[in-house]
């Protein structure tokens, strides 16, 4: 019954909904939905696993291009291969990695913005201060697992929650609903709250549980599955298993019913795991909106971007190949959102473990670094520009915080500032921002103008 309590506690709306009452649960949302269907906001975080090399993702094409080619050596992309972005921003003209060419028109339409040189910070820092050890910096820099967690909001304590999960717990009660913190893989830090469970949404749903069809939640077989989740256990791990099981049945009942109403989008997402996940998400978001669900955050983790070697080329795990999948699938996702009437309801944020060194390494790759470039996509985004200040692309230059001048850029925008911007858009009260992002007490500017006013 933990799940029922969670639903009651978080929504305060599901008066009689028990575990087994998936249909009733959904029904109550559908009813509410008619009154407030327009108030739907979702954040989709596309997390590129392994540390996407931002230096080859967003490239300056003005005078700084010669810095780029000089520092990058054999990793430098040919200017003629890049997808140019119109206008200038942050003091430069820019182009995108050729794989991201489908995003260039969205930038032109003002639906896509870049955030330059962003990364985790404890307090504002310059490269000179970092080199002089004059500022506090996040722990475990350059470690994948720790930086993934820190980017997603881990505060380096036993509490393993992430920023979106914490913020969702602090939304006003009118904006809370079930299946608000959702992951499509076993990665989950971002959407993990302090005391809430996380919903796992497999792209094809989880309709059949043995003989139980969750589309028939009242059937005897579904009831027998639900009963199992309510057995009592003295052992902590058996009790946890039962809780996890019960929550998974409840979530899967909702996802099953939503997916049954979903229509496949017309846009071409391409093929592969990322395409399939974003396509499924695009098909189901309009249903959630129609059901009256108000706030959701989806974590879509994908890829193997830890390109210490063989970063270029047509191999399946090269950055070139993977960015092409990102470009195609995210552009199609935005197209589907607009077609489905959600063009102004959904923001997609691309982020990654960390940036990579400006200097190449042996084997045709690059090493772990710190600051990186991300994009945000969707109607609410103040697009067509690059937010923040673009780093100087020279080894040992003014933004390089590495003692050995490998080109590890010190971020000029904090991950927390981007997170706070997006979670305030979802309804996090301004006075609770530092509750979710404790390091922002050290920043005068808690948010950045990434979204339209």
């Amino acid at each position: 019954m933990i799940t029922r309590r969670r639903l009651l506690g978080s929504g305060g709306l599901l008066s009689a909904a028990g575990l087994a009452a998936g249909a009733g649960l959904l029904g109550s949302w559908a009813t509410r939905g008619e009154a407030a269907a327009s108030d739907y906001r979702a954040l989709v975080v596309l997390f590129l696993q392994g540390g996407n090399d931002g230096h080859n993702t967003l490239i300056p094409t003005d005078g700084a291009f010669s810095d780029y080619t000089l520092a990058r050596g054999n990793l430098a992309l040919a200017k003629s291969s890049l997808a140019a972005l119109p206008g200038s921003a942050a003091g430069h003209t820019f182009a995108l990695h050729p794989g991201l060419a489908p995003l260039a028109p969205l930038y032109q339409q003002g639906r896509l913005a870049w955030v330059a040189n962003v990364g985790p910070l404890v307090e504002p820092a310059t490269a000179a201060q970092v080199l002089a050890s004059a500022v506090d910096v996040p722990p475990f820099l350059l470690s994948h697992s720790d930086q993934v967690a820190i980017q997603q909001g881990w505060t380096v304590k036993d509490d393993t929650s992430g920023w979106a999960g914490r913020a969702l717990e602090l939304l006003p009660s009118t904006l809370r609903n079930p299946i608000s913190a959702v992951t499509m893989s076993t990665q989950r830090t971002l959407v993990l709250g302090r005391h809430s469970r996380v919903s796992f949404m497999p792209r094809d749903g989880a309709r059949y549980w043995g003989a139980a069809d969750l589309a028939q939640p009242q059937s005897a077989n579904s009831q027998s599955i639900n009963r199992m989740a309510q057995w009592q256990f003295a052992n902590d791990y058996q009790a946890e298993y039962a809780r996890t099981f019960g929550a998974a049945v409840a979530d899967s009942t909702l996802f099953t019913q939503a997916l049954m109403q979903a229509a496949a989008p017309a846009a071409d997402f391409g093929s592969g795991d990322l395409a399939d996940n974003l396509r499924a998400l695009a098909s189901v978001l309009p249903v959630f909106k129609a059901q009256g669900i108000k706030r959701q955050v989806f974590l879509v983790s994908w890829g193997g971007f830890d390109t210490h070697a063989s970063q270029l080329g047509s191999a399946t795990n090269s950055q070139d190949t993977q960015l092409a999948a990102v470009g195609k699938a995210t552009a199609a996702f935005d197209q589907a959102m607009q077609a489905g009437g959600l063009g102004d309801n959904v923001v997609t944020l691309m982020m990654s473990d960390f940036g990579r060194t400006l200097r190449p390494g042996s084997g045709g790759g690059s090493e772990h670094a710190w600051g990186n470039h991300w994009f945000a996509l969707g109607g609410p985004v103040a697009g067509g520009t690059v937010h923040g200040s673009f780093p100087t692309l020279t080894l040992g230059g003014p933004d390089d915080g590495d003692q050995n001048k490998n080109g590890r850029m010190v971020p000029t925008i904090a991950t927390d500032q981007v997170g706070a911007t997006l979670m305030q858009w979802l309804g996090l009260p301004a006075n609770l921002v530092t509750e979710v992002f404790p390091n922002l007490v050290n920043f005068n500017q808690k948010t950045i103008p990434l979204l339209r006013a």
Binding site: V156, T160, Q238, H308, N317, S362
Partner: protein
């Protein structure tokens, strides 16, 4: 034809008490109401304790293994396991190349690793290698399957050696060299001005394979700085310096088999003889000086000595082995006792893996639960998908994983064996369950698709792709025997529960589960197409419950 499957004289007195169907019971019900059968005859340990130990020390209990454990006792059984030769997979049938790599090598790897799990006599070694392989990770996502097979073979050969020798063999294994790029780790030189040390392997050698990112006390408790934060173990400069230490290794090509493209996978890497491939200058890692001019081998030897003498390595390894074999959240005292054995096996040897696994498995905290009355609420761990399936298939006597896929592959979607998504494995030792915040790393894999596999897969396997109908050919082809299961099902609910209790629940069928199974079998709406349909449907229900979902 759909038939109603019924039993004789079902008489239900409330929940959980059932009159027996005279004469039809399978022989000698084991302590079926949840109580533990006493030791009998010459047994050193109870059936319950031996079954429980098998879950901690092997890929799952079989009648033969439990009998052997009861006869020998734990200590002698472990010694007997130490004496067995390491199981090795023959990679020859997988040595096919192409671009892309053809499917056969992948099928060989998957088939052979399942066969190993089901049949390897040296189960303790195999299970320990699986544990090690979950924190010293190579994943099939990158190397050729021959490389993955040879990696597994190496872990088997080293599992009962010392941790230092293991780290040495890991560092020069060609598959690891490829997976974390150390075979491309070259310094900047006049000959290669664009070269620069590749830090990938050096970092994970410290972070994931030996000492971790923050400092630990002798019992694994993190040390804290004055502000309550973690104290970092090393700096980025240490990583860069260790990367320099590890430069200059290359694959060994067999001069007698110039056309054999796979020798790079079954022979350790060797130092390049071309001087610019190696940084022979002085390095400093964690305060230790690596003198200029040392050989690649000497530098590696010193690096391994440095890491295996670091204060962190003993509790680091102790915690991981305890978590993979016994419980997710051991007391600091238990970690401390095992860590002490890592530092000294009693004869002055550091990192003796035999002494270590014995300390893990024979510790009083590991054995307390052998008597269910003494079990602690925080004992145990979520049964990870790989061990969940292996326990089922071994209990059914399978010689490899049963599958109905046309190519013979068995693929576990939540935890594909030896195919973790990245070097960070399937879950982290610090992962907690959302909501309750219970330290439960394996809980991360309990997603909806894993539950639906637990509740469905055993029956899906009956679907015969060739005949487009259901039968048991996938099981019989894999050498599994479902005779006892189906016979018990056909006999009576009580006989079926007794069978489940003995085969899967250590002879102590939980009363709630027993009552539910009976209720399902006797309910008016219960109908099945055949005894094997019904038996497998109920089996997977029983094994998807929290009772089997946790190794307690």
């Amino acid at each position: 034809m759909r038939i109603q499957w019924r039993w004789c004289v079902p008489i239900l007195f409330g929940i959980g008490v059932l009159a027996s169907c005279g004469g039809n019971d399978v022989a000698t019900p084991q302590a079926s109401a949840g109580q533990v059968a006493p030791r009998t005859g010459t047994a050193q340990v109870s059936f319950y304790a031996a079954s429980r130990f098998a879950e901690q020390a092997s890929f799952g209990a079989t009648p033969a293994l439990v009998a052997e454990l009861q006869a020998k006792g734990f200590d002698k059984w472990i010694d007997a396991q130490f004496a067995l030769p390491p199981y090795q997979i023959d990679s020859t049938p997988a040595r096919l190349n192409g671009n892309p790599i053809p499917p056969e090598p992948y099928q060989v790897q998957k088939r052979e690793t399942q066969k190993l799990i089901m049949t390897a006599p040296d189960q303790l070694r195999a299970r320990l290698a699986w544990s090690i392989g979950q924190f010293i990770v190579v994943s099939g996502t990158k190397p050729h399957p021959v490389g993955l097979i040879e990696w597994i073979n190496m872990l088997h050969r080293q599992a009962f050696g010392t941790y230092g020798d293991l780290l040495t063999q890991v560092s020069i294994h060609p598959t690891m060299g490829q997976y974390l790029d150390n075979n491309q780790n070259r310094p900047k030189s006049a000959e290669c001005p664009r070269c620069a040390p590749n830090e990938n392997y050096a970092r994970e050698l410290m972070q994931l394979f030996s000492i971790g990112v923050y400092q630990l006390g002798a019992d694994g408790t993190p040390l804290r700085n004055s502000r309550g934060g973690y104290v970092e173990t090393y700096t980025q400069t240490d990583v860069e310096q260790l990367a320099r230490v590890l430069t200059g290794w290359q694959n060994q090509n067999d001069p007698f088999k110039p056309n054999d493209g796979f020798s790079q996978y079954y022979k350790p890497m060797i130092p390049s003889t071309w001087p610019p491939d190696r940084d022979a200058g002085e390095k400093r890692v964690l305060g230790r000086v690596f003198a200029a001019g040392q050989s690649a081998e000497k530098d590696l030897q010193d690096a391994v000595a440095l890491l295996t003498s670091h204060p962190n390595v003993a509790p680091f390894v102790a915690l991981r082995l305890i978590q993979h074999h016994v419980k997710s959240n051991p007391t600091p005292a238990y970690v401390g006792r095992v860590a002490a054995v890592f530092r000294n096996n009693g004869s002055g040897v550091v990192g003796d893996m035999k002494a270590l696994i014995k300390a893990v498995l024979l510790d009083p905290e590991a054995r307390a639960g052998d008597d269910p009355a003494k079990a602690r609420a925080d004992d145990g761990m979520v049964r990870e998908p790989a061990l969940h399936r292996s326990a089922i298939f071994r209990a059914l006597g399978c010689q490899r994983a049963p599958t109905n896929s046309t190519n013979g592959d068995y693929w576990l979607s939540a935890q594909p064996h030896w195919w973790a998504e990245s070097v960070f494995s399937f879950y982290a030792p610090t992962d907690r369950a959302p909501g309750s915040n219970l330290l439960a790393p394996e809980q991360k894999l309990l997603v909806a698709s894993e539950f639906t596999e637990r509740l469905g897969q055993l029956n899906w396997i009956r679907y015969n792709q060739a005949t487009k109908s259901n039968d048991l050919s996938a099981y019989t082809n894999a050498g599994c025997s479902l005779d006892a299961l189906v016979k018990a099902f056909s006999t009576s609910p009580r006989a079926f529960n007794d069978y489940l209790g003995t085969a899967f629940f250590r002879g102590a069928m939980p009363p709630t589960l027993r009552a539910n199974i009976e209720q399902l079998m006797l309910s008016p709406s219960w109908d099945v197409n055949s005894p094997d349909d019904g038996a497998l449907r109920l089996l997977q229900f029983a094994l998807a419950t929290p009772y089997f979902g946790v190794i307690q």
